[in-house]
């Protein structure tokens, strides 16, 4: 990792989706409500680096990915790319900038226009950015396909003739075609089988070594992050709660939510049969969140301060780790396994109770 200007930098990035008011509400002059999808995220990605973004539904990771690719316009904060402020870029300038960041989506079926052929789909960015057409475009695509492991003579096929893994490779080829500096990968392998996932992830890592592309890998799959990413950020309810080098975070998680997440991942280990998961509750609503730490309602280590004061994301323990928790010092050494109670699974009231509405 060089000391060159970061490829991507966000500062307090926000994206709120307003909820249209009912007539009654506007009559009563109630404040319009909004979904705080991304609520103050500051992140840096260096050239050629892989940043992983993990979280569950409602964490804001997908919205953040889309913001980075400027498929949404931020409602607050700043977004800088290679030093240049692109927060409110529009029109032709925005379209010209787009060659720098590409995105691969989660849905292998919906990502590719079913009416177009491979060379048209994969060649679209090049066509839009460089004006290449026809035979030359086909040649460019033909040269590109082997880099993602597809046969070069499938130019005229349609997407439905490919398997899920094949389709994701096509999406990847499309993203690579304009040689972007950063690729946002939004759950690229979640819809695929395990063996195919491994193939695609392997290829991603090789491509990064060959071409020095930065990745923003958005996923809920902890192992994928371990394999692909250099650093990883954990998001909960629109905010980053912890950020560190991958190995550090996975082996010694500090934030209680990170611990909860890691403890929840099922492992093919038969000895886990007797465990019960201790974290109850559900992910609360993103609408006008309450003050205080957002994980407080579910946190096993919560104290009063957590419910009133928002913990800031601050450096902790050196080596580039950031944590947003008031009790970071107290809980830092508690392993995630604590959240899996190991006793004989017995009937009776359980801490893993369901939510109250």
């Amino acid at each position: 990792m060089s000391d060159a200007a970061p490829v991507l930098e966000t500062a307090g990035l926000e994206k709120f989706f307003p909820i249209t008011q009912s007539f009654g509400d506007s009559l009563a002059r109630r404040r319009p409500r909004a979904i705080h999808a991304v609520d103050g995220v500051s992140l840096t990605v260096r050239p050629g680096e892989s940043m992983g973004l993990i979280g569950e539904s409602g964490s804001g990771k997908t919205t953040l990915g889309w913001l980075v690719a400027r498929l949404h316009e931020p409602t607050g904060g700043a977004l800088r790319f290679g030093g240049e402020d692109i927060t409110h870029l529009k029109g032709r300038a925005l379209r010209a900038w787009r060659r720098n960041v590409q995105i691969v989506f989660q849905d292998p079926v919906g990502s590719l226009d079913p009416r177009l052929r491979v060379w048209q789909i994969v060649g679209e960015p090049v066509r839009a950015q460089e004006g290449v057409r026809g035979r030359e475009l086909r040649e460019r695509v033909r040269a590109l396909l082997p880099t993602v492991g597809l046969p070069p003579d499938c130019l005229d096929q349609y997407p439905h003739e490919f398997s899920g893994g094949g389709r994701q490779r096509l999406s990847l080829a499309r993203a690579l075609s304009v040689r972007p500096r950063l690729i946002v990968l939004d759950e690229p392998t979640s819809a695929l089988d395990v063996a195919v996932q491994a193939q695609i992830l392997n290829r991603l890592v090789e491509l990064q070594r060959e071409r020095g592309i930065a990745y923003l890998l958005i996923t809920h799959n902890v192992a994928a992050v371990r394999f692909v990413a250099d650093r990883v950020a954990v998001m909960y309810l629109g905010r980053i709660v912890e950020q560190a080098a991958v190995r550090d975070l996975l082996e010694r998680p500090v934030h209680p939510y990170t611990k909860a997440l890691l403890a929840a991942v099922p492992v093919p280990d038969v000895s886990r049969r007797r465990t019960r998961y201790r974290i109850g509750g559900e992910i609360p609503s993103l609408i006008d969140p309450a003050p205080g730490c957002r994980f407080a309602p579910r946190c096993p280590f919560v104290v009063d301060r957590c419910r009133t004061e928002d913990p800031p994301l601050v450096p902790f323990g050196g080596s580039g780790r950031l944590v947003a928790c008031h009790r970071a010092d107290d809980v830092k050494d508690i392993p995630p396994e604590v959240l899996l109670v190991r006793d004989a699974v017995a009937p009776g009231p359980s801490a893993a109770a369901g939510p109250t509405s």
Binding site: F17, I35, A37, G55, E56, S57, G58, G60, K61, T62, T63, W66, L71, R95, A96, R98, V101, Q102, I103, F105, Q106, D107, G110, S111, L112, D113, P114, R115, L116, R117, E124, P125, A128, Q129, G149, L150, P151, D153, C154, D156, Q157, Y158, H160, E161, F162, S163, G164, G165, G166, R169, S171, R174, S190, A191, L192, D193, Q199, N202, M235, L286
Partner: protein, 346 residues
């Protein structure tokens, strides 16, 4: 066992899929054949009438009020005019009317629907226009189409032209709704956003991605619609506001109106059965074809008919495993999708 590099097969043609679906679905095959027959007949009547039309439309023969016979396939009326010839001559006209109305409605309504569906960000001029278009559409849709068409004929006058115009005016709002709905569905698909991320301009996205994907359900609707249009037009003609009959340019609805109105139909039923059956057969044929088209064009059902399929994933390392088998998943039968992921806005 060395692994040969994966070879791509020749793309399965759309034509091949088309035939296979038709064969699997006998009713749509019948519809297709009927429509082709009707089309061919219409062309022949237009350009080579001597082949199929033995008598002129106003030509009086000696056999008055004759029941259907070999000489007069559908019988004659009180002046000996051959019903069969009249019905045949009316075919290209009625078919043309159906296509003209549905086609115009599709063009106008479709265009409006495309724009209203795609450019609807609030606060922009185009967005405002879209809202206006939608409200106007709602107003039109709140009238029963037949009543509205009849009322318009009062204003526009009698005759084929004004009647066609009247029906078209009541018809385009349906297409606005239809096309707009399809556009809204497609607009949010990832491939549209991927095109945006590639730097494609909004207009080009509309033309290249949205339009092509919206077209197919619209065509299905259009095919089915021809029948409905015909029935509506015939009803207007039946009320007597369209063309005059008998005339040099007969039309089925006018025929029905005339023979029913003069009471001859009560005594000589073939006078109305023939044109009525003609309307029915035409509408039926298009309906069957429309249903079949729906199966052909829906990518999910179509997939079941594509042979072989799939470009598969290559071997991880050379020399590791055996030759690859072409792969394709069994059709979805509630098999559950491949690992879905719960994802809301986050």
């Amino acid at each position: 066992m060395a692994a040969p590099p994966p070879r791509a097969r020749r793309a399965d043609s759309r034509f091949g899929v088309f035939w296979r679906v038709l064969r699997a679905n006998p009713l749509s095959l019948i519809g297709f054949i009927l429509v082709v027959l009707i089309g061919v007949t219409a062309l022949l009547v237009l350009f080579a009438p001597s082949l199929l039309v033995p008598y002129g439309p106003l030509q009086e023969t000696a056999q008055r009020n004759a029941a259907p016979s070999l000489q007069h396939l559908f019988g004659t009326d009180n002046l000996g005019r051959d019903i069969y010839s009249n019905v045949m001559l009316a075919l290209p006209l009625d078919l043309g009317i159906g296509f003209a109305i549905a086609g115009s409605a599709l063009l106008i309504g479709g265009l409006l629907g495309l724009v209203a569906g795609f450019y609807n960000t609030p606060g922009t001029l185009l967005g405002y226009t879209s809202t206006v278009v939608l409200r106007v559409t709602d107003v039109f849709l709140s009238f029963p189409s037949l009543i509205l068409a009849l009322a318009l004929t009062r204003v526009l006058g009698l005759g084929v032209g004004p009647s066609v115009l009247a029906v078209t005016i009541t018809w385009w709002p349906f297409y606005v709704r239809l096309v707009r709905g399809e556009v809204l569905a497609v607009k949010h698909l990832p491939y549209v956003n991927a095109a945006r991320a590639a730097g494609v301009s909004e207009n080009r996205i509309l033309l290249r991605h949205v339009l092509r994907n919206v077209l197919e359900p619209v065509i299905v609707y259009f095919t089915l619609d021809i029948g409905t249009v015909l029935v509506t037009y015939s009803t207007i003609a039946y009320v007597g506001v369209a063309s005059i009959y008998p005339s040099a340019h007969p039309e089925w609805g006018a025929m029905l109106a005339f023979y029913q109105g003069t009471g001859s139909a009560n005594v000589y039923p073939w006078l109305v059965l023939a044109p009525g059956a003609a309307v029915f057969v035409t509408v039926f044929a298009f309906s069957l074809l429309g249903d079949g088209l729906r199966d052909i064009l829906d990518p999910r059902t179509r997939r079941a008919f594509v042979r072989g399929a799939t470009i598969h994933d290559p071997p991880a390392e050379a020399g590791v495993a055996g030759p690859l088998a072409a792969g394709s998943l069994a059709p979805d039968a509630g098999n559950g999708s491949e690992v879905p992921v719960a994802e809301a806005t986050g």
